[in-house]
Symmetry: C2
Amino acid sequence: MNEDSPKTVSSRMPGHLIRRLHQVSTHIFHQRVRAAGFDITPVQFAALDALRHKPGIDQAGLADAIAKDRATVGDVADRLVQKGLVSRTVSRHDKRARELTITDKGEATITALLPVVEQLQKEILPGLDDAEFSQFVALAAKVTRAIRSGGER
Amino acid sequence: MNEDSPKTVSSRMPGHLIRRLHQVSTHIFHQRVRAAGFDITPVQFAALDALRHKPGIDQAGLADAIAKDRATVGDVADRLVQKGLVSRTVSRHDKRARELTITDKGEATITALLPVVEQLQKEILPGLDDAEFSQFVALAAKVTRAIRSGGER
DNA sequence: TCGCGATAATATGTATACTTACTATATCTC
DNA sequence: GAGATATAGTAAGTATACATATTATCGCGA
């Protein structure tokens, strides 16, 4: 269905292409992680991964680390705490801040998930050979670096 | 802030990079379109653009055209109808289907927005020169083609 | 033509994602 | 040390995005 011929303007635009890629990426992540017996979203995984490297950071720090805003991170943290993967305590140095730490269960989860997630990365860019895959990742990484340095606006 | 050194696993993965790009893309779209005096999201723009090329398609057809599911398209259509940019009528051939048509106001909107949206495409991939930009778009387009042909589930 | 599987929308519920506004704290400045 | 300013988190509201279930309708085959 949909006899190709994408005459639309949006179909030629990187913005639209990126949206499609994002969609597929999320979908495959969900499928594979679920098949492995877990109920973790891409964002939750990124949060756990960040928390493993910087235990005890507050929600604003986590927001910065995974490039989300504070409101979103607050919601994500709620779910991770509810699942028992992360613990949240009020900081002793700053009563405003909530320090997040990954729990043993959280550690176990990410350890089990790492190979699964590593594996599915190739699946989210179908149709590309190894060289093209690397090229894509390099270009995308270059953009995100440019965003981080100058894009703070 | 955030002294680079992205030691995390997810920061190296295309899935995560794509999420970042998607975010920036949406953000810039919003900014520029708003600055031009409109209140249209990327998805709403894609829907209008698709409708301009295939007036009278039903919601399922639009969902296929912009690669969203029917529930999402239903919500998007609600908002477009509410804004007066699209009209929705029950099909005479199939009482289940709702045919969507872009209104004059919708036409005027997309006509005014096209140059704006065309312009901002370069901004959503900062740090890339023209060759890299083209390369990125070519790779992304290749992936979406691969998704369309073989990726159906 | 009756029944049954397929399809179009809608309803419901979950999870992002961001904006703006508001509260509680910290910190900086005079 | 008090007031101004900035920051952490939450709350509320909007918009995607998708899965699943339900309803209405279609169309095919016996």
